[in-house]
Symmetry: C2
Subunit: 230 residues, 2 copies
């Protein structure tokens, strides 16, 4: 690897799931020195964040930051109180994993870090094919965010680029798995299950589990997912 | 005021300074039901946040949220540690008020809240004239963020609008002060000083103080700022 490639830094969003693990491997394979960024927003179990830690370590990232997002009351509290509400815990009845404007918030932190370390790129594992219901996973959204980056930063104004990279955006789940497998990703470290147990073992029954398992089947790759015993 | 105007909700970024207090008054005068949003990012003194609380209360906002931004280590720690760093305190030697990608981060939270409450607008008191050195205060940046909002949200995709309003963007400091004075803003509640004391009294000597005082002079408005005794 050349020195110039070595010197390229990328901030990579890492959730602990299959997609972002693949995205991180792709960034590393492109020669970036990777900085992993995760968010603690009251995930249902800690296993997703623990998976993010394992994935980042396995990829040999230079640093891994986990930012606490205290968005609890923004998540949906009734607007009935004129007093100051400093979010500390998620509200009862609100899905704890609900993050409004999710990718916009995540990318704003990624941009902040990218700006500080003079990163050349930000990688996010969004996928327009599997998640077409989310506005902020579409190519148009990513293009708009790139435009924002170009205008938001001193580097952009001076003609420099912080490239917003979305290597998974057009891939099927099977293609993602094949790509990651070729790059040596250990998917056994990742957690996709909506209701994984504390050991990170998947239920095998939720939508996410079934979708993931089908991806391994379609890719012709052995599914290394740790499933809970029946 | 009509019922339809009453039902319009706006998220307004409120820092505790003169500009955002004016911006909030303008939003209220336009008939918006205002939700104030502030950030706790380790401001040099608490007086700025306390001013934000006073300003929001004086404007009769429906709710005021203060979001803790734990960006300490993003603010500029050396990238020398592969361990997980969960930001808790600002690093020594880094200006505690430094927020990289500042308006991008602030607006992403505003968008999150706006999405949850189905707000019609987001107000931010940026000013291209006085702060032309900041890329993220320019009209081009604001236009790019508006485009992002349109693409990032379910509402935008469905043809709805969350308008990003910047009523101060072309105004001089004196014009801002005249506008706010006409709308009844009590600038005595606001704090602009970089080194205000715990009582919120201004030093009268820093750049921000001198700039502010000149604004009152130019506007021909009595300066209500509380200054520290010499």
């Amino acid at each position: 690897m050349s020195d110039s490639a070595r010197s390229k830094v990328a901030v990579v969003l890492v959730s602990g799931g299959l997609d972002s693990a693949t995205c991180l491997a792709i960034a590393a394979a492109q020669g970036y020195q990777c900085l992993a960024l995760s968010f603690d927003y009251g995930q249902r179990s800690r296993s997703e964040l623990e998976a993010a830690v394992r994935v980042a370590q396995a990829a040999g990232v230079k640093e891994h930051k986990i930012i606490p997002l205290q968005m609890g009351t923004i998540g949906g509290s009734a607007l009935t109180d004129a007093s100051i509400a400093v979010p500390e815990q998620e509200s009862e009845g609100i899905p704890v994993t609900y993050v409004p404007a999710r990718n916009t918030v995540f990318l704003s932190y990624a941009l902040a870090w990218a700006e500080v370390v003079d990163a050349a790129a930000i990688f996010i594992g969004v996928n327009a094919r599997d998640y077409s219901g989310y506005p902020d996973c579409r190519p148009q959204y990513i293009a708009a965010y790139q435009q924002l980056i170009n205008l938001a930063t001193k580097k952009g104004v001076e003609g420099g680029i912080i490239a917003l990279e979305t290597p998974l955006i057009d891939l099927s789940k099977a293609e993602i798995i094949k790509t990651g497998t070729r790059l040596g990703v250990n998917y056994g470290l990742t957690v996709s299950c909506y209701q994984a147990n504390v050991a990170g073992e998947a239920c095998g029954r939720c939508d996410s589990c079934r979708f993931r398992r089908k991806g391994f089947d379609d890719a012709g790759v052995d599914d290394p997912t740790l499933y809970q015993r029946a």
